[in-house]
C-alpha cells in the first residue's frame, strides 16, 4: 500500500495569493483577516509575516503596526477554488483522492509505482504538479494515510516513509500535529508529553484509563499503526475560478488580463484531469450604478447586477490562448456597461477529442483556430441579419417551397468523408445570382406577358419571357403567407444580354427582380 499526502503551507494565505502572479509567498509577508468588518482578526499568515511578529488572533489594528505585512480579507470562494484545484492535482495521479482538510489531500497511490516510478520520484512529481497549480507544498508518502498526513504536516519538502519505519520517523513531531482536542492537549502537556515519541512510549492500559479510547487512538496514530479506509472525494462537475477586485475595472484590457489569470488556473485544472471544455461562462459582477456620482443619488439597494457571457465551442479545447482570444473578441463585441467588481470564469468539462488526419486527406481548418477565425469574421460582418440568420456559417436548405429559404448554421470543419461524385454534377449549369432584398421593378404587360421593364432607373424592352410560374404557401399563417407569379425575362443591356428572374407579388401586384441567371 502506498499513500501520498499533499499539504499546502498556510493554505488561506496561498489561496488568497494564487491568482496574483506578482505575489511571492516565500519572500513577502502576507496575512489573511477574517470576521465581521468591525472586528477583523488575523486568521492565517505566512513565515515572513510570523517573523515580523504577526500571529493568528491579532486584530487588524495590531497587525498594521508591521507595515511590511500585506493584509488580505479572507474570501471563502477563493479557498474553495484553491482546494478544488488541489484535488484536481491529485486526480492527475489517481482516481481515489480524499479531501482530508482544507489545503490537504490524501491520494491512494497503490499500484502506481510501476507506472509513475519509485516513491521518491512520485513525491517529486506530486510537488511539481502542485507547484504548477500555484502552491508551495509539503509532500509525504507512506504505507498508511495518517502517517503520510502527519509527515506532510510536520516535515518540510518531500518525505518518504518506508513501511515499518513509521514510529521512528514520526518520533520528532510535536503532538499538535495530531490536532487533538484542546482538553487532551492540556492533559498531555501537563504530563510533559510534547512529541510523538513520548506519546508512543506511554503504557496503553493506563493511557486508556485516563484518556479513554481517544487517547489510545492518538497513541496508535503517533506510532503509525492506524490503517483506515480512504473516503474518495467526488470530482468537480464544473471548474470555477473567481476574483474579487479591490478597485473596479473599467477598461477591456485589464479585464482581459484578469481573465487570462483565471483561465490559466482553469485550464491547468482541466489539464490535470485530462479534460477539456466546450462550454464556458464568464460572469461579471458590475457596479450597481455607473453614473451615481454624476446623478448624485445613492446606489439602489439589492444585489449588484450580473453580466454573463457564454462561449460554446464545437470542439473541446484545453488551449488557454484560444479561450482567451474568443472571450476577448466576444467582450469587444458585447462590452459590459458598468465597471467590473468581480470576475468569475466557469468551465464545463468535456472529454478531449483526438483526431488523426489522413495522409491523403485534404487540409482542414484546425477547430480551435477556426473558432477564432469565425469570431473575427463576426466582428467584421456582424452576427445576424434582419431575419435573425447568422452572417457566418454554412448554409442549409430549409424544407419548404418558399423562395430564398435557408438557415445558416455554425460551421464545423470536422473531418468527414467527401460525398461520392454524382453524375448530375458533371453537367455545367447556370445558376441564380440573387438580389437581397429583391429589387423593385415596374413591368408593362402586353397580352398578359411582360413587354417592358423598368428597374435600376432604366427602361428596357423584354425580348423573351417565360412564365408565369405560380407558387404559394403558408396560407394557414397570415404572417408567413406568400403567393407569387414568376417570370424569366431576357433584356438587352449594355454589353450583352441579361436573363433575370422577376416575380409579381400577389395580391398586391408589385413587381420585383429576384436575381440574374448567371
Amino acid at each position: 500500500m502506498l499513500f501520498g499526502c499533499i499539504h499546502v503551507l498556510d493554505f488561506p494565505v496561498q489561496a488568497a495569493l494564487r491568482l496574483d502572479p506578482a505575489a511571492r509567498f516565500r519572500e513577502d509577508a502576507f496575512a489573511v483577516m477574517d470576521g465581521p468588518e468591525s472586528l477583523l482578526k488575523i486568521s492565517a499568515c505566512n513565515e515572513p509575516a510570523r517573523r515580523a511578529g504577526i500571529t493568528p488572533g491579532m486584530t487588524k489594528a495590531q497587525a498594521e503596526v508591521a507595515p511590511q505585512v500585506r493584509l488580505r480579507k479572507r474570501v471563502m470562494q477563493e479557498e474553495q477554488a484553491a482546494h478544488a484545484a488541489l484535488l484536481d492535482c491529485g486526480y492527475r495521479f489517481s482516481s481515489r483522492v480524499e479531501s482530508t482538510s482544507p489545503g490537504t489531500i490524501t491520494i491512494d497511490l497503490t499500484g502506481t509505482e510501476r507506472l509513475l516510478g519509485a516513491a521518491l520520484k512520485l513525491g517529486r512529481q506530486l510537488a511539481r504538479r502542485a507547484k504548477g497549480c500555484g502552491f508551495e507544498v509539503n509532500v509525504a508518502l507512506a504505507a498508511n494515510p495518517d502517517t503520510a498526513l502527519y509527515a506532510a504536516r510536520g516535515f518540510t519538502g518531500i518525505s518518504v516513509i518506508a513501511p515499518g519505519e513509521e514510529a521512528r520517523r514520526l518520533a520528532s513531531l510535536p503532538t499538535e500535529v495530531l490536532h487533538p482536542p484542546e482538553n487532551v492537549v492540556e492533559t498531555l502537556d501537563s504530563w510533559g508529553i510534547r512529541d510523538f515519541q513520548a506519546l508512543a512510549a506511554l503504557p496503553a492500559i493506563p493511557l486508556t484509563q485516563r484518556l479513554g479510547q481517544q487517547g489510545l487512538h492518538l497513541q496508535r496514530l503517533a506510532r503509525g499503526e492506524v490503517m483506515r479506509e480512504l473516503v474518495p472525494a467526488e470530482p468537480a462537475v464544473a471548474f470555477r475560478e473567481s476574483m474579487e477586485l479591490e478597485e473596479s475595472v473599467e477598461l477591456l484590457e485589464p479585464l482581459v488580463s484578469l481573465l487570462n489569470r483565471l483561465l490559466e488556473q482553469v485550464t491547468a485544472r482541466l489539464v490535470a484531469r485530462s479534460l477539456a471544455t466546450d462550454h464556458m461562462q464568464v460572469t461579471l459582477t458590475l457596479e450597481a450604478q455607473l453614473d451615481r456620482q454624476l446623478a448624485a443619488s445613492p446606489a439602489p439597494p439589492g444585489p449588484a447586477p450580473l453580466y454573463q457571457r457564454t462561449l460554446k465551442l464545437p470542439t473541446p479545447t484545453q488551449d488557454r490562448n484560444v479561450l482567451l482570444k474568443l472571450l476577448q473578441l466576444d467582450l469587444e463585441e458585447h462590452p459590459p456597461l458598468s465597471p467590473v467588481k468581480k470576475v468569475m470564469v466557469e468551465a464545463f468539462p468535456a472529454h478531449v477529442r483526438f483526431g488523426q488526419g489522413g495522409l491523403f486527406h485534404p487540409i482542414a481548418p484546425e477547430p480551435a483556430k477556426l473558432e477564432i477565425t469565425m469570431a473575427r469574421l463576426r466582428a467584421v460582418v456582424g452576427e445576424q441579419d434582419e431575419q435573425g440568420r447568422s452572417r457566418v456559417g454554412f448554409a442549409q436548405a430549409v424544407d419548404t417551397h418558399k423562395p430564398d429559404s435557408f438557415q445558416v448554421l455554425p460551421f464545423n470543419a470536422e473531418r468527414k468523408e467527401a460525398q461520392p461524385r454524382r453524375a448530375a454534377t458533371l453537367t455545367p449549369r447556370f445558376v441564380l445570382r440573387r438580389f437581397r432584398p429583391p429589387l423593385k421593378a415596374r413591368v408593362e404587360l402586353e397580352r398578359a406577358v411582360p413587354a417592358m421593364m423598368t428597374f435600376n432607373g432604366r427602361r428596357t424592352k423584354v425580348t423573351n419571357a417565360s412564365g408565369p410560374w405560380r407558387s404559394s404557401g403558408s396560407w394557414w399563417d397570415k404572417a408567413e403567407e406568400w403567393q407569387r407569379e414568376e417570370w424569366d425575362v431576357e433584356l438587352r443591356v449594355t454589353g450583352g444580354v441579361g436573363v433575370y428572374r422577376i416575380f409579381r407579388e400577389l395580391p398586391s401586384g408589385s413587381w420585383f427582380v429576384e436575381g440574374i441567371y448567371d
Binding site: A364, D385, V497, G515
Partner: protein, 208 residues
C-alpha cells in the same frame, strides 16, 4: 466539367481574377462549379459574399457540399462598407491556413469602387497567397489585380437559348433551355499556357 488550367483545377498558388458586367456571363456558374469540385474532393472552402447574393438552393443543385463552404455574408448598409468588410474577411480567411479555396465575390460591387482599390492590395494578397496552399479567387465585374493575378479569366456575354414546345411559337410557351458561355484565359503568370482552356461551354438550368 468545367476545366481551367491543368488537371481541372486552378493552379496554386495564385490569385485568379474573373470579370463580369451586369449581364449574364456565367461567372456564377464557374464559381459554383469550382466550389462543387473542391468540396467533392474534400476541401473546405470559404465564400466571402460582399453583396449577399449567393443562392444556397442553386449551389446545392449544382452539387456543392454546403457543409464544407463557410459563407461570410457582408452587411450592406453598415460601416465598414461591404467592400472593406470583404477584404478584411478574405485576409482573415487566407491566414487561417485550413481552407483549400477562398472565393471573394465582388460581382455586384460597382466598377467605380473596384477601380479605387490600390494595386498594393492585390500585390499584398498575391504575396501572402504565394506562401500558402490556398487558392484565392476574386470575382469582379471589372478586370482587376493586373499582373498580380496568377490566372485571369474573362467571361464573355452569355447567349441564352429559348425553346418552344412543339411548333407553337407563342411567347408564353417559351422556356429557357440553356445558356452558352465563353471564357477567355487572359493571363497565366505562373505557368506557360500549353493548351488553351475550353473556350465555350453550354450550361443547362438547374431545373432541367
Amino acid at each position: 466539367m468545367l476545366s481551367f488550367g491543368q488537371n481541372g483545377s486552378v493552379k496554386k498558388p495564385a490569385v485568379a481574377g474573373s470579370a463580369k458586367e451586369r449581364i449574364s456571363s456565367g461567372n456564377s456558374a464557374v464559381l459554383f462549379s469550382l466550389l462543387a469540385q473542391n468540396t467533392r474532393r474534400g476541401h473546405f472552402c470559404a465564400l466571402v459574399d460582399a453583396s449577399d447574393c449567393f443562392d444556397p438552393a442553386s449551389a446545392e443543385a449544382v452539387g456543392v457540399d454546403l457543409s464544407r463552404v463557410l459563407w461570410v455574408r457582408c452587411r450592406a448598409s453598415h460601416q465598414p462598407k461591404p467592400l472593406e468588410q470583404a477584404f478584411k474577411a478574405a485576409d482573415i480567411l487566407v491566414h487561417n491556413d485550413g481552407f483549400g479555396m477562398v472565393v471573394v465575390d465582388l460581382g455586384n460591387i460597382e466598377e467605380r469602387h473596384i477601380r479605387r482599390i490600390p494595386l498594393t492590395t492585390w500585390f499584398r494578397f498575391a504575396r501572402v497567397v504565394e506562401r500558402k496552399s490556398v487558392v484565392l479567387v476574386f470575382l469582379t465585374n471589372y478586370p482587376v489585380a493586373q499582373s498580380c493575378a496568377g490566372q485571369k479569366l474573362l467571361m464573355k456575354p452569355a447567349i441564352p437559348h429559348w425553346n418552344a414546345p412543339g411548333d407553337i411559337v407563342q411567347l408564353r410557351r417559351l422556356s429557357l433551355a440553356e445558356m452558352e458561355f465563353e471564357i477567355e484565359v487572359e493571363q497565366k503568370r505562373l505557368c506557360k499556357p500549353v493548351q488553351p482552356a475550353t473556350p465555350k461551354f453550354t450550361a443547362a438550368p438547374i431545373w432541367a
